[in-house]
């Protein structure tokens, strides 16, 4: 257990180029996940992100079998999944069941595709839990390019998207194209998810996309502050998780999820204590205000 925190070994390992590449990849991912996260939480899309990430695994598996770049396959799978989920479930009441149905089928297809693949088992496993230390320069370039594209589009649609996410009825009345925006956002989330799948794996992408944002949303109601906090939390989890995993040589995902969950727990406790204090204040001052003249 004492080898869990071997600082000398950690420092030594940080000099390796592949570790540096992994850290850069994690930092990019943390930024994208942190920026998208609060909007995902506001739109109740956590399960959709989970579904998209699993389906990017299907895309990755298909790419593995076809002999093309697994990253591209995962990206294609996630975008297709995001579009299908966005188009099929316009009504929120059936949103979850549509995701559930497609998710199960997609995973089944992915398992079948992996079974067809004659290669080594570790490749298969890597798709599920992530292999950030295997990120090479080409995939780093893809990651960076995708991140820039996602952030640029998001910057452009941010205000109407926020409006449509937190106040859809009035947004529609004010002429915001809410349907088109949710499709575009679904694609952005799909791309970011596919990037996440390659670093922390399909099963653990929620740890970066959802948990930091959910934690941030617990401690502030200011959308801008929530975004900044979510980015900080996600960076901390992604980069910190890799650094901590170096010395023991343990799976990155275990550390990333542990850190983000710990942050969530702390924020949850903060919101609990604050909520109690606020309720106390509120009950003392709920008198109806005087009629303004």
């Amino acid at each position: 257990m004492d080898q869990l925190f071997d600082f000398e070994l950690t420092a030594e390992l940080l000099d390796f180029p592949f570790v540096r590449t992994a850290l850069i990849a994690a930092a990019i991912l943390g930024l994208v996940a942190g920026v998208l996260g609060p909007l995902i939480v506001s739109r109740n899309m956590a399960f959709a992100v989970h579904g998209t990430s699993e389906l990017s695994f299907t895309g990755g598996a298909a790419a593995l079998l076809l002999g093309v770049n697994v990253g591209h396959g995962a990206l294609a799978g996630a975008v297709v999944a995001a579009l299908v989920l966005g188009l099929l479930s316009r009504r929120s009441s059936e949103h979850d069941s549509v995701i559930g149905a497609i998710l199960a089928f997609g995973l089944g297809v992915g398992v079948l595709l992996l079974w067809f693949y004659p290669g080594r088992a570790s490749n298969k496993f890597g798709l599920l839990v992530g292999q950030i230390v295997s990120v090479d320069f080409a995939s780093l370039a893809l990651l960076g390019g995708c991140a820039v594209a996602v952030l640029a589009v998001l910057l452009f649609i941010y205000r109407p998207l926020l409006f449509a996410s937190v106040d859809p009825d009035v947004a529609r009345a004010r002429g915001v194209p809410t349907g088109a925006l949710s499709l575009v956002f679904a694609v952005l989330v799909g791309i970011a998810t596919a990037l996440g799948v390659q670093t922390v794996g399909a099963l653990l992408v929620l740890a970066l996309m959802i948990t930091p944002a959910a934690a941030a949303c617990r401690v502030t109601a200011n959308p801008l502050k929530a975004t900044v906090l979510a980015v900080v939390f996600a960076e901390f989890a992604a980069v910190g998780g890799i650094v901590l995993s170096l010395a023991p040589g343990a799976p990155v995902s275990a550390f990333v999820t542990a850190i983000s969950f710990f942050i969530y727990l702390v924020c949850w406790i903060i919101s609990l204590t604050r909520g109690r204090a606020r309720r106390g204040v509120a009950s003392a001052t709920t008198a109806v205000p005087a009629t303004p003249r």
Partner: protein, 284 residues
């Protein structure tokens, strides 16, 4: 409280249709074979307060959707602030029904109002942040909402949320205010607060108000004219003209009595719950 009224400020010289901010000519709205209303002619003058009444499904909310440009009329013509209704006309303000907002919603009252100002614009709006802040502050002041503008909206009471809704609708300085049951589920005191905020706006800025409601009494002192919709039929006139046993009996094609008690109007005999609704308890 009196039901007698004199004309709204400036109304007499604004009855010419050219000056009306909302104008429907022979307008018909239907879904498939079902006609919600037809042959509707309505002109709303600046500063006029028009209450839109009628049972559920009579097309009150659909009228607002038409004016917002979310739904085309089947036939006839519609003009709003001199234009045909298009999505997102900035000169139209909209106050929706009070609906409980999720407690975990990541939004403060200030953000809700700000989105009413520029939420439809592309980009993130880093330019003009100061001017934006000033306008939002002014709108918050106008509804006396500074005390809770920085709290999460989901934790506010229904009355506080609805005051923010009014600020959100007014921050863009609209010429027409469309209100869809804005008093629903508010208690009496808050109904009064919210309706007097709307009234003050139309008096100071001459904003026309179309006010969809089940219940005329909370706004009766403010109403210039009533548009009463029942089953595709309608009547337009002052409350004294429309809210009579004879007119409503014709509209409903049933025996309706109208009782006036202490300045309030009570409609008796229309199908239960269609015309009148009990005051709801405020959500807390």
């Amino acid at each position: 409280m009196t039901v007698e009224r004199d004309a709204a400020p400036g109304r007499s010289e604004h009855t010419r249709p050219e000056s009306s901010v909302v104008s429907l000519r022979d307008a018909t709205l239907g879904y498939g074979r079902r006609v919600l209303w037809s042959g509707l002619n309505l002109d709303v003058a600046p500063g006029e307060f028009v209450a839109v009444l009628g049972p559920n499904g009579s097309g009150k909310t659909s009228l607002l959707r038409v004016l917002l440009g979310l739904q085309p009329v089947t036939s006839g013509s519609v003009r709003v602030v001199g234009e045909s209704p298009g999505r997102g006309n900035r000169r139209i303000g909209y106050v929706p029904q009070q609906r409980a907002m999720e407690e975990s919603l990541v939004m403060r009252g200030r953000d809700l109002v700000g989105l009413g100002l520029d939420g439809h614009r592309w980009g993130i709006g880093l330019l003009g942040m100061r001017a934006r802040r000033e306008r939002v502050d002014a709108a918050l002041d106008a509804v006396d909402a500074h005390g809770f503008a920085d709290a999460p909206v989901g934790r506010l009471s229904g009355g506080e949320q609805q005051r923010l809704r009014v600020a959100q609708a007014l921050v863009s300085d609209p010429e027409v205010l469309l209100c869809d049951e804005p008093l629903l589920s508010l208690d009496l005191a808050n109904q009064q607060v919210v309706s007097s905020l709307i009234d003050r706006r139309r008096r100071t800025a001459n904003t026309a108000v179309l006010f969809v409601t089940h219940e005329i009494n909370p706004v009766l002192p403010l109403v210039d004219r009533v548009l009463y919709l029942v089953d595709g039929r309608f009547r337009i006139g002052t409350p004294d003209e429309v809210m009579t046993a004879r007119t409503l009996s014709e509209l409903y094609r049933a025996k309706i009595d109208v009782v006036r008690v202490r300045g309030q109007i009570h409609v008796v005999g229309a199908q239960a719950g269609l015309c009148e609704q009990d005051h709801h308890e405020d959500r807390n």
